[in-house]
């Protein structure tokens, strides 16, 4: 598999994880005995997808990112690494833990305990919001590489 494909899998898994988290949120709004099984299954799916995004993105970051990092730092958008990528790579660990906690909360008594349902709602909403931030940050890092390469061409 090419390194570009590996890189593209990272946001793909991330977007799918966000969709799964939105699904959990919607199921939790009206959690009942009829949808609790589905809610729990999708919460596990969200966590698995986040872990896949972490493993694939982490592999690419550790093995291949060095070249892009050097380009970005020498280009017109050094903040794309110095602030955006540094924040993204570390905040992702928080998102990973939050995503891991989501099915744990979902396997609580979501149907009968109002507080557990609220916790699942908050957790899934935060996974979505942080996921969006990660996607946006990834776009800025990619643009940092692009403007650095364009500067070399002209």
């Amino acid at each position: 598999m090419s390194k570009e494909m590996i890189l593209m899998l990272h946001p793909t898994f991330g977007v799918l994880a966000m969709i799964a988290a939105v699904w959990v949120f919607v199921e939790a709004l009206n959690a009942n005995d009829g949808n609790i099984f589905r809610l729990r299954q999708v919460s596990v799916l969200a966590a698995v997808l986040l872990w896949l995004a972490y493993i694939v993105g982490g592999y690419w970051y550790v093995v291949y990112y060095g070249g892009d990092k050097a380009l970005i730092k020498a280009g017109p958008w050094p903040f794309a690494h110095g602030f955006v990528m540094e924040t993204k790579e570390h905040l992702f660990l928080t998102l990973l833990l939050l995503g891991t906690f989501l099915p744990i909360a979902a396997y609580g008594d979501v149907v009968r305990k109002k507080v557990t349902r609220k916790l699942v709602l908050w957790t899934s909403a935060l996974v979505v919001l942080m996921g969006l931030a990660m996607e946006g940050a990834g776009a800025i890092v990619g643009m940092g590489v692009k403007v650095a390469l364009l500067t070399k061409l002209v």
């Binding site: 005995d33 972490y54 928080t94 906690f101 305990k113």
Partner: protein
């Protein structure tokens, strides 16, 4: 739709509470570790020497702490209200985000 009675008691199960608090503690400690390793070269090098990359070590430590702390806290009957638990989860996410972003923006 199956009918059910809502339990209005403001306390989540021991497992949910334990792992929720574990998440809150771990996310803050993980953010503080970012500041520590980026400010202290010897700690950064120590983390590099453990796995070959500081970020990999950081991730492993965070996951390990979350799991161990969660397992320990789940076995204790912690009298934390549900709203406090939710505030801890949401608050720690915001604070850890601010610590990390704040550190790299300056």
């Amino acid at each position: 739709m199956t009918t059910h009675q809502t339990d209005m008691t403001d306390i989540a199960s021991a497992k949910v509470t334990g792992y929720g608090l574990s998440y809150a503690i771990t996310s803050i400690l993980s953010a503080l570790l970012v500041v520590l390793k980026e400010s202290n070269e010897s700690i950064l090098q120590l983390m590099v020497s453990l796995t070959g990359h500081h970020w990999v070590t950081h991730g492993l430590l965070s996951v390990l702490l979350f799991v161990v702390l969660g397992a320990i806290l789940s076995r204790r009957n912690i009298g934390v209200s549900g709203n406090t638990l939710i505030a801890s989860v949401v608050g720690s996410t915001i604070v850890s985000g601010l610590i990390i972003a704040g550190f790299f923006i300056v």
